[in-house]
Symmetry: C2
Subunit: 231 residues, 2 copies
Amino acid sequence: MTDATTGSADGGAARQPIWTRPHRGTRGPAPTHSRDDIVTAAIALADAEGLAAVSMRAVATTLGTGAGSLYRYLSSRDDLLDLMTDRVVGELRPYPTADGDPLDGMLRQARRQLALYQRHPWLLDVAHRPSGMGPETLAWFDDCLRILAPLRCPVAAKFEAIAMMTGVVTLFARTAATAATGLPALDLAAYPHLAAALAQPPVPAPRADLFERTLRSLLTGLLAPDPPTPT
Amino acid sequence: MTDATTGSADGGAARQPIWTRPHRGTRGPAPTHSRDDIVTAAIALADAEGLAAVSMRAVATTLGTGAGSLYRYLSSRDDLLDLMTDRVVGELRPYPTADGDPLDGMLRQARRQLALYQRHPWLLDVAHRPSGMGPETLAWFDDCLRILAPLRCPVAAKFEAIAMMTGVVTLFARTAATAATGLPALDLAAYPHLAAALAQPPVPAPRADLFERTLRSLLTGLLAPDPPTPT
DNA sequence: CAAAACTGCGAACGACGTTTGCAGTTTAGA
DNA sequence: TCTAAACTGCAAACGTCGTTCGCAGTTTTG
């Protein structure tokens, strides 16, 4: 048997990432489905019922086929997750040719990123896998670098700033998703400061501009034109 | 059959968190193992081979028993993960009675937290579940509030700051763990700014003090005594 | 001393990701 | 044109997982 996702001319080389693997060869009947079909169905499932509902069997059932058939198009579930991620990152397009303060531009990126995470909460469960970035993710990264281009600071600092910004966005997306998972039913006698803090206000409502302020202070600190390195 | 982890006098009430559930009743033979034994074995397994290696069967085998037997002590694998997490959070003790700048105190907490994440990398895979905080986690939280006590700012701001600090620590722990997962084998022609950035320095080595600077700017911004709210 | 409440244990259940074998279909090359 | 290679879908199976269940034995309760 052969596997369409392995790549025809690939003997024993290391597994290539899904992005560069060909869809199929030239022979044989026309496939009933496509990678894009499968990814679309999987995303719909994840949006509706969470990432745990995205099982090979469930996706296949949505498409009216069997679980094993999906392996004609993908080589693993991780591949599917990679494709799903990159697909929805594509929703961050179009990238407006913003001319203005780089910091404002980055905040715009962050806001759109946060909206994306709220539109597809399963991204939080998928983002932390050490997987190669797909073309859309690379394009987004590239756009961030374009925004930061006017800044005269080390490239390493820009990479760090983008990574940290994405991280902070996921933090906000996560705390927004699991808002107030509940304080414990333990007795608070052992935690005096916590008890005092909880007795004070009825609800610790987050301030509205926290997102912007956090990111602004973070990026300002990371993108200083000259690393301070004192002494 | 009965289940020791359900709680004897619990009829149909909602499932209590593991922390408040009794270990066992008074009748019957003395148990061969204990919750602590199981947690210790599971942590050792996770430290050595990662969280994926912590299966009920593997933990049970380590203890010389069968997978089903663990359910005499725990009601689910999630319970085990909760217990593991809280146990290692206990390694953050003792909390020194530091008298000094609250910001310095928080940075100290962050450093110890980062060290904990590097000692138990599987914490990164377990931390983002919406699960109740255990007693050790609550104690740590309480200590953060103690450190922040001298600050005269809204309690909500303190909660936010602690949460964000923890989040940033996980970000650094994660990027340190998956350091340089590799740039893609795609052609970079479609990403001009990325290509330009990569052509510039051979290696984008992170600056050493990034952790401290990031947290300092973040906490300073979040813990301002008066929210700036302009206009 | 019987009943209740516990113990360990092994088998089983259902779901999962993935592999495999097979029958049928399309193309490539002689 | 015809054979062989390369593909197609599909159902069954494999191994692993978390979890449940039933049973035999042990200890406490009243």
